[in-house]
């Protein structure tokens, strides 16, 4: 009996608060907007019995999805989210790899400290970490003050409210997710392999390219997915740091819901976003499984 409770309570909780909400989103994405409470039609009326159920299903259609394909805004937003996420992931890799490498090569007694320094920002409010760049990147911000004082630029650069600021924000907030898996693979790397490569006539640089990089691929792939997947649906960063040119689907969904109050379209946007995310998520899980098998 107790055993049953242990399974049933979290199971029912997730069914009620995770799965059923999705079914509702799916259903509303097939409904039509209406000026009513709730603002969509049809609504399921079980008191009508079988006829009500039939009317309900007859009222569902793919109109909202058709609408998403006719309006440029949506598919541009999906593409642009994927592009921004991809480019930002590359930047995060370029910044994160040297840090992870440096940590893995640091003296062993320093490593726990360095690891804590990477994890600490993760516990700090995401919103505040994004916000901290607003003061740095604005036209009268700290970065421009420094650049003007040094005479590097003659006029303040416009960085805040552009895609460049969005990239900075993503790299900054997701950096720990890139560093940690790469560090984990580099730390386990057998140093004698590098020595062997050098003994066999490799230069240090070619040993790095031919030994270190290939062996750290699982960590790199894991880190890239951990940055790429959540970035696609990101809302806070494009809203605070991005500008009018920044088109991301998370922001579109938010505005569709809160500003336009078009629930059926917002739900359809969410359904497509999920479909897009399924591919990288499956690839990520394959990578994880391969790694586990390689270790096990």
């Amino acid at each position: 009996m107790r055993r049953f409770v242990v399974v049933a309570v979290p199971y029912l909780w997730l069914l009620a608060l995770f799965l059923i909400p999705f079914v509702i989103v799916l259903k509303i994405s097939l409904s039509d907007p209406a000026i009513a409470i709730p603002p969509y039609a049809p609504t399921l009326d079980l008191s009508e019995g079988w006829q009500g159920l039939k009317d309900f299903f007859a009222g569902l259609d793919f109109e909202n999805f058709a609408f998403l394909t006719t309006d440029d805004l949506y598919w541009k937003a999906y593409l642009s989210s994927l592009r921004i996420a991809f480019v930002a992931t590359l930047f995060t890799l370029l910044v994160g790899f040297p840090i992870a490498y440096g940590m893995a090569r640091a003296e062993e007694r320093w490593r726990p400290m360095l690891l804590m320094l990477v994890i600490l920002p993760f516990w700090t409010s995401f919103l505040i970490r994004v916000y901290s760049w607003m003061g740095i990147l604005s036209s009268e911000g700290y970065l421009n003050q420094v650049l003007l004082a040094l005479g590097v630029v003659a006029e303040p650069l416009t960085i805040l409210n552009t895609n460049a600021a969005v990239y900075v924000g993503i790299v900054y907030t997701y950096l720990p997710f890139m560093i940690l898996p790469i560090y984990a693979t580099l730390e386990k790397l057998d140093m004698s392999l590098l020595e062997a490569a050098e003994d066999l006539g490799c230069s240090r640089l070619s040993a790095f390219w031919l030994v270190t990089i290939p062996l750290s691929v699982p960590g790199i792939v894991a880190g890239c997915f951990l940055v790429f997947i959540p970035t696609i649906g990101e809302f806070v960063i494009p809203s605070l740091l991005g500008g009018s040119e920044t088109l991301m689907i998370g922001k579109v969904l938010w505005e569709e819901f809160f500003s336009n109050r078009d629930w059926p379209v917002a739900s359809a946007v969410a359904v497509i976003l999920l479909l897009i995310l399924i591919v990288p998520i499956i690839l990520f899980q394959r990578n994880e499984q391969k790694q586990r098998e390689a270790e096990g």
Partner: protein, 272 residues
């Protein structure tokens, strides 16, 4: 260390400067006397005073704290149960669905989680406010708790549980007296993770709340959208300080616990 060259030293220095400089600037400028946030006009604690007198912020902080304590506690209980089920229950009907529902929220975009929960709450006619935020936060953070706890459950010696059962413990006693003390560190870090996630959440709370409850991130959001503000700098500094002290304390405590356990193990080995 042979391979620790100046390149590594430079990349570490630059890397950590990049990670910490923005927050450091925020902390320094929170003591700026000027209303203009980017112009330094001498040291002052004026903004902390204004912050403490700002009732809207205090109310929001109180709401956030209540939500975080309640949701992370329920999430820890549910998440531990879920982890126990995943690792120990073997096969049961709908197991794949269950583990899917545990892992899916971890990769779900917040806007979708928020939207779907809101549509549910409206659908069943639940009044939106603190209760709905607690329900939403519990749902996604229990998944994080269960991932943390199940990795610990996976790694420990099951024969300890079996020994307890053989010696006449009921399954529940075996869990309470043997399993729980062993997985306690993971349960505690799960709670801390759930607590932080709840404190941090802006998007999901914005979707599921009603006019009666505003959380601190929502309050911060509505004021930073208009630009940098000295009061928010002060608030950020306080939050950064709390997190720093918390993380350092937690790591010292766990270090001491590990040292104590190693001492015990050595003593046990010596006695044997």
């Amino acid at each position: 260390m042979r391979r620790f060259s100046w390149i590594n030293a430079t990349s570490l220095t630059l890397g950590f400067a990049f990670l910490y400089l923005p927050m450091l600037i925020l902390v320094v400028y929170s003591f700026n006397a000027s209303q203009l946030v980017t112009v330094w006009a001498g040291f002052s604690t004026r903004w902390y005073g204004e912050l403490i007198r700002n009732e809207a912020f205090l109310d929001a902080a109180w709401v956030t704290l209540k939500v975080a304590v309640v949701s992370s506690t329920i999430a820890t209980v549910l998440g531990t149960m879920a982890a126990y089920t995943l690792v120990r229950a073997g096969r049961f009907l709908g197991r794949t669905l269950f583990s899917g529902m545990i892992y899916a929220p971890l990769v779900m975009p917040e806007v979708i989680t928020g939207l779907s929960l809101l549509l549910l709450f409206i659908g069943i006619g639940l009044d939106r406010g603190i209760l709905t935020i607690v329900l939403a936060h519990t749902t996604f953070s229990m998944c994080y708790v269960s991932v943390v706890v199940s990795s610990r459950l996976d790694s420990f010696d099951r024969s300890l549980e079996e020994a307890a059962l053989d010696l006449g413990c009921t399954p529940f006693e075996a869990f309470r007296l043997v399993t729980l003390p062993i997985i306690a560190p993971a349960v505690i870090s799960g709670w801390l993770l759930a607590f932080t996630l709840s404190l941090d959440d802006l998007v999901i709370a914005s979707f599921v709340t009603g006019p009666s409850a505003t959380t601190l991130p929502m309050k911060i959001w509505s004021s930073v959208r208009l630009g940098v503000s000295p009061e928010i700098n002060a608030l950020s500094t306080i939050l950064i300080a709390i997190v720093t002290v918390g993380v350092i304390t937690a790591s010292l405590v766990s270090k001491r616990a590990i040292a104590a356990r190693q001492r015990d193990e050595r003593a046990a080995a010596a006695a044997a």
